[in-house]
């Protein structure tokens, strides 16, 4: 009897949390189809009385969400490619070699945890200005890649240390250089961790906010979706009258990520836990 009650309470608790987790997303999803009048009337009804698909069309035609989406896609994809190439090489070398400055590299990766993005953002913008990287998405992309180095290099290092060294040795005897071993032998084995790095870093770049915000203060055409949406809220335009477009924008920004996650969730979850245990 008590056991049954316990089980009931546990499921009750789990389902309660489930509702809490899903509610805001469903609220945004259904809200994105409401007319601005219905949205502003408030009311406890979540599902729209009249489904208004035009919100999405207007988000693209009226508020530049087309450009924002394009910027988000380019920013995220380029960041992921850069992060994948650099961190897997570093992870491989960290796992296999002893080199000058290895300890320093690892401990400064750790120290980077204490830095908040806000503290170094301004000098980073200045450095990008000197390098002439401010007038395109490239500045943001390179900084995003740079800031992701510690976490993903360590993730890749953890995975590489788990790969048997005998593979390297036989390739070595065949006369392969480190890079050739990495590229021909190790990379194919690293596919699962590569998928994880790609997905996690894509999620980070797609959702990045402070970095693109600071880089696009005076350049509206380089804004990403997250920046564009928040900017709309803080009175950048028609204010209240564009709530329906803003909420359609939130959906444009989170739906692609949700779909990617739901189809590949095992890479997200297993990758994170692997990184946690090894890190």
């Amino acid at each position: 009897m008590i056991r049954k009650l316990c089980r009931f309470l546990i499921y009750f608790f789990l389902i309660g949390i489930l509702v809490f987790m899903l509610f805001p997303i469903l609220y945004a999803f259904f809200g994105s189809f409401k007319s601005v009048e219905e949205f502003l009337q408030g009311g406890a009804q979540i599902i729209p009385r009249v489904w208004r698909y035009q919100n999405y069309i207007e988000a693209f035609s009226k508020v530049n969400f087309g450009i924002y989406t394009f910027n988000s896609v380019v920013f995220s994809l380029a960041s992921v490619v850069g992060i994948l190439i650099t961190t897997t090489m570093t992870g491989y070398i960290l796992a296999r070699k002893v080199f000058v400055g290895k300890k320093l590299m690892l401990s400064s990766f750790g120290a980077a945890l204490f830095l908040t993005g806000a503290t170094t953002l301004f000098p980073v913008v200045i450095i990008c200005k000197h390098l002439g990287l401010l007038n395109s998405l490239w500045g943001m992309i390179i900084v995003q890649i740079a800031w992701s180095q510690p976490m993903y290099s360590i993730l890749a290092m953890g995975y590489c240390s788990g790969i048997s060294k005998s593979l390297d040795e036989s390739a070595m005897l065949d006369g392969c250089s480190s890079f050739q071993i990495y590229w021909r032998v190790i990379m194919p084995i690293m596919k699962p961790i590569n998928a994880t790095i790609a997905l996690l870093s894509f999620r980070e770049a797609w959702n990045a906010f402070m970095l693109p915000l600071a880089f696009t203060l005076t350049k509206p055409n380089l804004r990403t979706l997250a920046v564009g949406i928040v900017n709309l809220k803080d009175g950048g335009g028609e204010g209240v009258s564009s709530w329906n477009l803003m909420i359609a924008g939130t959906m444009i920004s989170i739906l692609p990520m949700i779909i990617v996650y739901l189809t590949m969730n095992r890479y997200f979850l297993s990758g994170l836990s692997e990184g946690a245990v090894k890190g």
């Binding site: 609220y27 190439i85 590299m105 400064s108 908040t116 959702n207 997250a226």
Partner: protein, 315 residues
């Protein structure tokens, strides 16, 4: 496995493998250069700026420790420090126990546990800036769904102005961070739990230990270090909040929910508000350094504190 391999693999081929060549340095060069240019160099910049008066355009003017002194005297700054520490305590205090309990439950025999895991993690893949806006909508005074539901249930008669009260606004931010982060910490705890040896649980079960006793006497002590690391991550995360608060309250009411990162950002990029449009990079740099020291101090204090505790209980 790895440890067993090492002694056998220390032959000539292995030492050749771990020998470093120029090519190896070229392979870590991109990471090294990126890290130095965009991670290390900026710290030198703010160290330098922090002793100057600098508006981003004209030449920096040396002012010694004036910026630091000004920061120590600014009540507005200490308000944001207090807010940051409050979030750094409140959020982990709720997030960690909840995530741990959920992880323990979902590590057991539960129907549909995979479904629960996937759904609980879902908020974490969304953007905290964008979903912060949704929370802002939900708690909007005249047309938010929170007031509408309370009205339908006849719990309130007039709309509550949620963001006009400092503490209500703070709790909404905490609620948002719980929504966003529980799944993440649940995944970390699940990973930690899955490393615990099963046979201890079996013998505990034979000895007739109930779930509660097993949890407090076996699970918690054995998590030990990992529990500490995960909690430290949660504290650091809560003290670095920016996106969420910027999107939900943007500091309202009257800067009462502003945190250190937002204060720093404001002085670096928005001239600190208050009518001034000239950025104050020197001052912001000094504040950045103080903020970094505060974050590191809190994290190290926590690690140190729990370390002593563990030593004592360990005998």
């Amino acid at each position: 496995m790895n440890k067993l391999m090492k002694p056998d693999g220390s032959g000539s081929a292995a030492s050749k493998v771990s020998k470093t060549h120029l090519g190896d340095y070229l392979m870590i060069a991109p990471t090294g250069v990126l890290f130095i240019v965009f991670g290390f160099l900026p710290i030198l910049y703010i160290l330098g700026y922090s002793f100057t008066e600098y508006n981003g355009f004209s030449d920096p003017k040396w002012v010694g420790l004036l910026n630091y002194w000004r920061c120590f005297q600014d009540i507005g700054w200490w308000q944001t420090v207090i807010n940051t520490v409050e979030f750094g305590l409140l959020i982990p205090l709720l997030q960690i126990p909840l995530a741990l309990v959920i992880a323990v439950i979902l590590n057991g025999k539960i129907r549909g546990k995979n479904f629960f895991r996937v759904t609980y993690f879902l908020p974490n893949i969304t953007s905290s800036a964008v979903m912060g806006i949704i929370f802002y909508f939900m708690f909007a005074t005249d047309n938010g769904i929170a007031n509408a539901i309370l009205k339908t249930l006849h719990l309130i008669s007039a709309n509550i102005d949620w963001f006009s009260n400092e503490w209500v606004a703070k709790w909404i931010i905490v609620l948002f961070r719980l929504w966003f982060g529980i799944g993440f910490y649940m995944v970390l705890f699940l990973a930690a739990l899955q490393r615990l040896p099963l046979d201890i649980y079996e013998s505990a079960q034979i000895d007739g230990a109930n779930t509660f006793v097993t949890f407090t006497k076996i699970t918690l002590p054995m998590l030990g270090d990992l529990f500490k690391v995960i909690t430290a991550l949660s504290i650091l995360d809560a003290m670095k909040l920016f996106d969420s608060i910027k999107a939900i309250t943007n500091g309202a009411p009257a800067g009462k929910t502003e945190v250190m990162t937002m204060y720093i950002y404001r002085y670096f990029f928005e001239g600190g508000g208050g009518g001034s449009v000239v950025a104050q990079e020197g001052y912001a740099s000094a504040v950045s350094i103080i903020a970094t020291i505060i974050v590191a101090a809190v994290a190290l204090l926590y690690m140190n504190f729990t370390k002593n505790e563990a030593d004592e209980t360990g005998g």
